[in-house]
Amino acid sequence: MAVDLTKLAFHSSYPAFKNNTVYTGSFTISGTLGSGVNTITTTVALSSTPDIVDILYQGDSDTAFEDDFSDVDPRPDDGWFRKGAVWANGNAGFDFPMPWTITYEIQGSNVVIKATYVQTFSATTTVTSETVYYRIVDYSIF
């Protein structure tokens, strides 16, 4: 029997979304920081320029600091988030928590993920290595 394509139940001439590709990976926050704005950047190359992306991050929350500092971030270490921070340990002669705010930019077919920390009160700080995980889903309009 010939198929009458006009009878397809799930046809629309209007665009729809498709879940194109999932990109996962990680980068590391580490090093010695000077005062002011410190940014660590990682670039993820997508296979094509995306129409829409959904990006989640994961990394340590402030769990390790809650005994000595108040619980500022309620997120558990294994919670994935869109807006928020990954917490690292800083040392400037004493240990203290450093919330690194995670953001992203789209530059053509690249997703540029940034971890940013503004350092005040201390000229030089050494950061204990901390891993930030990302999960990028590229949604395309078709």
Binding site: S12, P15, L56, P74, R75, F81
Partner: protein, 124 residues
């Protein structure tokens, strides 16, 4: 009518999002100034799904799904009084939404509704 075959919605070469059964809302009662109210949704999917979250914050007439800008005044050495805000995070089993009431004069009262929708990553 001419059919554009590239617009057929279920092309088995692609993944799609399908709205799951985990869609809903829940009212929470705001706590004292600076206190948190939490909504937990157990989805149990075993992977990190696509999801959306919306919350009522400063009143019950506006649903927020992103940040808003507010100004605060530091009134003590302990820091700036914060406006009411929210955070959310997801694991392979649960979605958690937490509203934190504002500090000091920014504290709100009453009930607020939290909305969520979780989508299945449907591999055709």
């Amino acid at each position: 009518m001419a059919i554009d075959l590239t617009k057929i919605a279920f092309d088995s070469r692609e993944n799609y999002l399908k709205r799951s059964e985990f869609v809903g809302s829940e009212d929470v009662t705001l706590g004292a100034a600076g206190a948190s109210s939490t909504v937990t949704v157990t989805h149990g999917l075993g992977y990190i799904p696509f999801f959306s979250v919306g919350v009522e914050l400063k009143d019950t007439s506006t649903i927020w799904s992103n940040d808003y800008v507010w100004s605060g005044t530091q009134t003590s050495s302990s820091g700036i009084d914060r406006e009411i805000g929210y955070k959310y995070w997801i694991t392979s089993t649960t979605l958690t939404v937490q509203i934190r009431n504002g500090d000091g004069s920014f504290a709100q009262s009453g009930d607020r509704t939290v909305y969520w929708a979780i989508y299945l990553d449907y591999e055709a």
